[in-house]
Symmetry: C2
Subunit: 488 residues, 2 copies
């Protein structure tokens, strides 16, 4: 069996469910064989197997987790993807599809002994159909490129995950990504009209069409959207676009109490106004962002609320005025209305850079993603603040307040065992509290590896059993991203 490479995964944080990942042996003979097989299917220059080449594909944007694959292969069209999948299915080789690796739940961390199939070079925009307001793209196109192409045509592709500059649309669809505009515009699945999909058998199927209504048989789209590469591989995606809003107004409200910010959000929704963005940052995040991005945030604030309304100029002027009034009535110390596009962009940048800013100040940043019904927001934020004190932890909180989607962010150090133990306890408590309040363990990052042990608690054992049955139905040999979401 030749020389063996041995490596470990610092995976204890996420618990027993991925204990099997911790020690892996890979034989050099195996790697040579995989290299020649994949090289024949694709071409040798599109297969990586040397340890130093594999390192960048051993992790995604999730803290703590990593796992080296056996090989990395690059496919650039549907025939290549199908051939690789057929080979994987015949040889029972786990296949982990990835784009830019911006996932935050470990969804594209290689499975043990897996081949990573990277689709970032499968990246053409194929069609923009102005009459039907659709765009057809390949999976490796970045979210930003899609947004830009629509924008040039006077149209809007709304989903805007935090990593949109580099994240790929295939990953967005596989994760059903959210973003900052979710409150008004929804999430990725609301903009996917159809796709070409490679099944675990290697068969290629087309699901959906350009019709805005279609009830011909079961709706198969949504099972695959958000399935995290565990049920099939997207090779072409048909997206729905919207008319571009004529104008946008950006406001920033500053609070001395987090509850006041949450009350403002409730008052805006109850008014009712549905702004495109209702984001907040807590004190810790404000300080980190200001230190990082120098946008002039008020350092004395306990919370800031970033509000954006888009649409007809008359409407947004009126809505901005009402939102400002509601914020002041709920105790905002100050409400700034951006006077110029540059000022609006600077404020939006403050929110967009929150994660990067927090990540600078501690060796390890663990980003949470619980979501609660909007009515539970203030209570949930209060719970997390109290929890941070109780466990003596630094937790920055920011998130999509209008969606009830919070990102409590642990600023910690994975080498500090005692602190990591407290982080683990606090992490669990946050999840349990969100579920208790009628929420979910993940609003937009997905389950992947990071949340799999909490899935039964979130959706119930019977639902997980249904998911397992679906997995076995679509991928009987368990080759597609095995071990993610749940075990089979």
């Amino acid at each position: 069996m030749g020389l063996s490479i041995f490596y470990t995964l610092p995976a204890r944080f996420f618990g027993a469910s991925i204990a099997a990942f911790m020690v892996i042996f890979i034989s050099m003979a195996d790697i040579t064989s995989i290299f020649s097989q994949l090289g024949a299917i694709l071409s040798p220059d599109r297969v990586l197997t040397s340890p130093e080449d594999l390192i960048p594909y051993s992790f995604d944007a999730t803290a703590v987790l990593s796992q080296r694959p056996r090989a990395v292969a690059f496919a650039e069209n549907v025939e290549e993807v199908s051939r690789v999948v057929r080979w994987a299915n015949e040889t029972r080789t786990p296949l982990v599809v990835r784009g830019s690796g911006t996932g935050l739940a470990g969804g594209s961390i290689p499975s043990p002994d897996s081949v990573v199939l990277c689709l970032s070079r499968f990246d053409k925009i194929l069609e923009l159909d102005r009459r039907n307001l659709t765009m057809m793209v390949e999976p490796g196109v970045t979210t930003q490129a899609i947004f830009d192409r629509a924008d040039q045509a006077g149209l809007l592709y709304p989903p805007d995950p935090g990593s949109m500059k580099i994240s790929t649309i295939g990953g967005n669809v596989a994760s059903n990504s959210g973003g900052l505009r979710g409150l008004k515009y929804g999430v990725t699945k609301d903009y996917v009209m159809g796709f070409e999909l490679v099944l675990a058998s290697g068969e290629v199927v087309w699901i959906g069409n350009k019709c805005v209504k279609d009830v011909a048989g079961y709706s198969l789209r949504e099972v695959f959207i958000g399935s995290g590469g565990t049920l099939g591989i997207f090779t072409k995606i048909l997206l729905r676009l919207l008319p571009k809003p004529a104008a946008k107004r950006t406001l920033l409200a500053v609070y001395s109490r987090m509850e006041d910010a949450a009350e403002t959000v409730s008052a805006i929704i109850a008014h009712p106004i549905i702004p495109c963005t209702l984001e907040f940052l807590d004190r810790t995040t404000i300080h980190c962002v200001e230190d990082y991005a120098k946008v002039g945030l008020p350092l004395e604030a306990e919370a800031i609320l970033l509000m954006e309304t888009d649409g007809h100029p008359a409407v947004i002027a009126e809505e901005a005025e009402i939102m400002a009034q509601l914020a002041r009535k709920r105790g905002a110390l100050e409400v700034r209305v951006a006077e110029t596009v540059e000022e609006a962009q600077r404020l939006a940048t403050a929110r967009r850079s929150a994660f990067a800013a927090l990540a600078r100040v501690a060796p390890t940043t663990i980003l949470e993603d619980v979501t609660v019904p909007r009515s539970e927001l203030a209570g949930m934020v209060g719970f997390i603040q109290e929890l941070a004190k109780r466990h003596n932890l630094r937790i920055g909180i920011f998130g999509h307040m209008g969606d009830g989607n919070l990102h409590p962010t642990f600023l910690t150090n994975e080498k500090d065992e005692a602190e990591m133990h407290r982080v683990e306890l606090a992490f669990s408590e946050i999840v349990t509290e969100a579920v208790r309040r009628g929420g979910t363990i993940t609003g937009e990052h997905g389950v992947g590896l990071a949340k799999k042990k909490f899935l039964p608690e979130s959706v119930g054992g019977l639902n997980v059993e249904i998911m397992r049955k679906l997995k076995r139905l679509f991928d009987p040999n368990l080759i597609l991203n095995p071990g993610k979401m749940f075990d089979c």
Copy 2:
């Protein structure tokens, strides 16, 4: 085996796929046994078995199709539904769930030897949650009651199928119903956040929550929504509501050429304006509606377009003005803007009464439901008009032009064998043409029995095979509405 009741189904129209439905024998001994078993599960006064009592449950709103069930049972809560399903699963009795029976694709026509489970008395509105903009309802609540309850609270439940005054929400969710507001607001599935579901095993599962974002595991919601009672039975439904638009403007444009109406629709979308309603009626439909509802429609017109925009008063005033201009530029003979709420309602009534009006003028009315990408609308309407001439048939066309969703309506007589043969040919040609143009065989009515032979042509054989596998996964004994959509 006692006395047998014999009856036939005039089902030849929909072809060989339901030939098995045509002659059925039911033994009286069987019926007595079913009556006593169901009577014990529910109570004797909630079970019907006498032939005259079964007649109203032998058909829905679909022309031509009917089939008498063995019994009808009324369940009023989840425990009763679960007990009936367990019994059906154990005794392998086909179970056909229905509400008001307003379906237009034969989806709630009893299967041979089936028990109809009627949920129209399971009809409470359980909660309206203003802070989260949700409503929890039982499946037998009418769509109109949901709309009204939301409206009273200053909120909007957008899906408005033509039969909304009597259709039940359980049926709407099972059919993923559309309506007149689909262009701007989408369809039923866009407003279903969660539901309680009885599986074929009798197990009860809850899927979804009040979170506006949730990616915890596979999205199971959409597989069940629109599954036509073949995968599970909804016993509680959590609906999403919207803020009620502040105002609405209704316009009517009159054309001497159908193509001009279609061009107007394209111009409005390309502008881009997304009105809440863009409905049209052709000459045949205009005459029938005017004769029926006396709303003052222009009888000299070849087509009329009913346009509605809702939202902020300033925006709708501007949009209405632009839509009127675009209509005139595309050759509208006349554009009326409703001056009062009453006038707007009268115009909306014209469209809402189209099907009823057409149904009066011929013994048999067969309503089609093909949908094409919007860019294919004008061509599709032209094709149907040419087809009507070629086959010497009367076809009224109306529909949701903004959605590309057409309702060509055959005005015929099922007793005229020669004409029915031509109807059958024309029906097939319409379906094939819609699919050729990138469309679907059904935009909002569903597959049921009426379209099952066309399903493979519409979605492809591999997709039907996936649907069959899902059916067998969720309903291994094939007791839930068997024989609908496809055969297993």
